[in-house]
Amino acid sequence: MTLLQSRSDRATRAAANLEHSSPEERRRRRRVRLILTVLGLACLLAAVAYLTYDVRGSWDYAMDLRTRQVGSLLVVGAAVGASSLVFQTIAGSRILTPSVMGFDALYLLVQTIIVFFFGSATFLMMGVAERFLINAGALVVFGMLLFRWLFGRNSRNLLVLVLVGIVIGSLFNSLTSLASRVLSPNDFLTLQDVMFATFNTVDGDLLWIVAVVCVVGLLALVPLLRYLDVVDLGYDSAIALGLPYHRVVTLTLAVVTLLVAVSTALVGPMLFLGLIVANLARQVVPSHRHTDLVLGSVFVGILATVGGQFVVGHLMDNATTLSVVVNLVGGIYFILLLMRTVRL
């Protein structure tokens, strides 16, 4: 009876965890915790540095602008980091991330189609928030349909999946440009405006709603993390251990599409950011638990966006853009990864 009562007791479990772990295990836990703390502090430092570096003239103005910039960088970094890492897990591959599979291209396509069918007048009449929510909702629905179908068919063949993802991505891109060519000039301008938002000019309203959605998405991920540890064992083992596999994968995919909508709405597609961030996080954080991995990936994502934009914006005076740098570094990394795994 006493055992039964203690079953629900968190503290007892924690004590038991401690009691039944070896010194080596505790040392490893401490190391993971230390690494996560350092990463978190580095994020904080990067954000403060970005805010306060070389402010000239009015502090109020600089703070207002920079807070919005840092805010969007934080949201993008966290969304990309978390979504890429869990996507890797459910795809069962370190090479597949949402962007590689064409998620953000799909977001742009959905947006274009909405403008195409309803015209920019309706589009502009809606507030920024409504527009984002409609886009995100449509993306979740289409994304789920598409990727359930994809994973159902070819889930065993990595090369086919990468290929399909890239083909789908460029298909969506050309559909987007086709649709935007057919649009009236007015509609097209509106679309350009929404599609290529940059870090430098972030709409305050949009940032708010997107930040809220991002936090909701991340929170929705928390109860799934324990199950994702089991998903990492592979389909067969997960089923044998009684994991409701399809439910976990579907829910995770829903959260991933939501988070992709978040980051794409703020900065547009960044093809290889997620790939670098998630793989770096897996290397830096020596743990198999997704609570650690996702947190690490969120931190690494924030470091990459805030740190990267700091270098590009402040140190290089906007001589180039963050997307260009990320795609250059990430593209090379992607090719290296492909060559190592696939051995062409």
């Binding site: 070896s22 295990e25 069962g92 089923i239 009684g242 743990s287």
Partner: protein
């Protein structure tokens, strides 16, 4: 007891299992024997619900595998496969703890920890508990998987079982290795019947 009733499954148009029925009784070691492509692994996959058959049902005790909750089945049926490709960086103890997933969904209770320790003891893995799986030899790794499955099958800590295994730990390892070899070689009795039947079908069709 595992009962298979009228299970039919095909890949594309190729019928692999044709109304297969069999009963695997408790406390016996069963081998399934058959020619290549006779459907032995498909049958095992259907029983362990990795594949959902087109027709027919599988019962574990009285639970219908198709409709019973996933965790109810996983408390009674463990699966050990010959190839386990895990990419995550897992230590032996991490792996064995996954065996308790059907019971505590990843949040281990004190009882779970005791069972995990027992499983490690039975398979003589205490020395390797903190080694990562990729640092183990093939045999040691298989033992780690067996420990996980043992942790999955032990309901709770039970003194009699403890006694049984402690008096004959070697036997236990040997016993599991027999199963292992059985699964590895896909040797199980009874398949001949279907092979024969399929051949006959083919013959009559021709």
């Amino acid at each position: 007891m595992i009962r298979v009733r009228d299970v039919t499954h095909r890949y594309d148009k190729q019928v692999v299992l044709d109304e297969v029925g069999l009963t695997l009784p408790v406390g016996q070691l069963t081998s399934i024997v058959g020619a290549n492509g006779a459907g032995k692994s498909t049958l095992l996959s259907v029983i362990s619900r990795l594949i959902r058959p087109e027709q027919g049902t599988v019962f574990i005790d009285d639970l219908d595998v198709g409709t019973a909750g996933a965790d109810a089945i996983s408390k009674r049926l463990a699966v050990l496969r010959q190839d386990n490709r895990i990419t995550a960086r897992l230590s032996v103890i991490d792996l064995v703890r996954f065996g308790r997933f059907p019971y505590s969904k990843g949040r281990l209770t004190p009882e779970d920890h005791v069972v995990v320790e027992e499983a490690l003891d039975y398979l003589d893995l205490q020395l390797f508990r903190d080694r990562y799986l990729d640092q183990l030899s093939g045999g040691q790794r298989q033992r780690a998987y067996i420990a996980m499955i043992l942790a999955q099958m032990l309901l709770t800590y039970s003194p009699t079982m403890n006694h049984m295994f402690h008096t004959a730990p070697i036997d236990l390892v040997a016993w599991f290795e027999v199963i292992l070899i059985a699964i590895l070689a896909y040797l199980v009795v009874g398949a001949d019947r279907w092979v024969v039947r399929r051949r006959r079908d083919k013959a009559s069709a021709e």
